[in-house]
């Protein structure tokens, strides 16, 4: 009984911590403006749509990755899918939840775009270093 109670409470707390952690990652990148090159490539200016996420992730996978970003991108990918599932399952019953999940998913897409911008800048720097060496 005690173990079951601890299990249920722990899973509930885990979900809340995970959502807040992902929101902190997203919030940290929300203020960053995208470079004009990335804006042209992915067609996102100041805000993104939820549907852009998969497309931006495909660009991210094409780009040589940076170890520092890898885990945060995975976490946001999991958060995006979790939001998608929550919106699809409960969105019909709670329309406000659906609006909120869509807004969150669009911010996930913007996070991915900022990560792509960082990766491109990093690879450009690496390339410039190699050329000068």
């Amino acid at each position: 009984m005690m173990a079951a109670l601890i299990f249920i409470l722990s899973v509930a707390a885990l979900m809340q911590f995970f959502v807040s952690y992902c929101r902190s990652l997203i919030a940290a990148s929300a203020r960053k403006a995208l470079s004009s090159d990335v804006q042209d490539v992915i067609g996102i200016r100041r805000s993104a749509n939820a549907e852009d996420f998969d497309r931006v992730m495909q660009y991210l996978h094409l780009c040589p990755d940076r170890r520092e970003d890898r885990n945060s991108i995975k976490a946001i990918g999991a958060y995006y899918r979790l939001l998608g599932a929550a919106g699809a399952i409960m969105g019909k019953l709670l329309p406000s939840l659906r609006v909120w999940t869509e807004s969150e998913r669009s911010q996930c897409a913007y996070f991915a775009a900022v990560a792509l911008d960082r990766r491109i800048a990093h690879n450009r720097d690496m390339f410039a270093e190699q050329m000068s060496a």
Binding site: F7, V11, S20, Y21, A28
Partner: protein, 212 residues
């Protein structure tokens, strides 16, 4: 530890460094026991669970350090430390009393019970700290991310140990989750130290799960 020392003063995050240092020592000790006695030996099993309990207590100290950072301006850090130490002692005694009353009185049973309770109390304390962060409108990204990753770590371990306590035969679940969670904590802390400096801030309203 290296990231923390490079990117922040040692004294400020001393308890986090202490935990990481102990974690390295314990990992080395486990490797020695594993090499000498093998994975299924009782020596290795006892060493694993007792060292895990010691690491959890070190994590309590890390949590106390975070409480001290968050409440440094209110000047109540000392009282909080005393309260947390009492809670730690209380949890240990409670776990012992629960197992002492049971028929088997097995030491392994005791260590699983105490681990489950220690992780759960750690989870509650982290949750209280998280609530305090929101209430005090704490905006330092590094502190926020360290606290949240610690909360996830405690949650995963508390859930895993509870599942293990209830269903001891579900080996395929609790064989993979704790190592994955163990890897997550240092990675998340490295990210917090390397990515953000101590003064990096964000709007606290963006963190609450319910939009404000």
């Amino acid at each position: 530890m290296v990231c923390s020392l490079v990117r922040a003063p040692l004294r400020r995050y001393f308890t986090l460094n202490l935990y990481m240092f102990m974690s390295v020592l314990v990992s080395a000790g486990r490797f020695v026991e594993f090499s000498r006695h093998g994975l299924t030996s009782s020596e290795y099993v006892y060493f694993y669970y007792y060292s895990d309990a010691i690491l959890t207590i070190c994590l309590y100290f890390a949590l106390m350090g975070l409480y001290a950072i968050v409440f440094e301006e209110l000047g109540v850090a000392m009282r909080l430390r005393v309260f947390m130490m009492l809670l730690l002692i209380g949890t240990t005694l409670f776990s012992y009393s629960v197992v002492h009353q049971s028929e088997s009185r097995m030491l392994t049973r005791y260590i699983i019970e105490i681990s489950q309770n220690l992780y759960f109390v750690g989870l509650i304390l982290t949750y209280v700290l998280w609530a305090a962060l929101l209430k005090l409108r704490e905006s330092r990204v590094r502190v926020i991310q360290i606290v949240l990753s610690l909360g996830m770590y405690f949650s995963i371990h508390a859930a895993t140990y509870a599942l293990r306590n209830a269903y001891p035969d579900l080996r395929f679940v609790w064989a993979f989750l704790p190592p994955a969670a163990g890897m997550f904590l240092p990675v998340a802390w490295i990210y917090a130290f390397m990515k953000f400096d101590d003064e990096a801030r964000l709007a606290p309203a963006r963190l609450a799960a319910v939009p404000r």
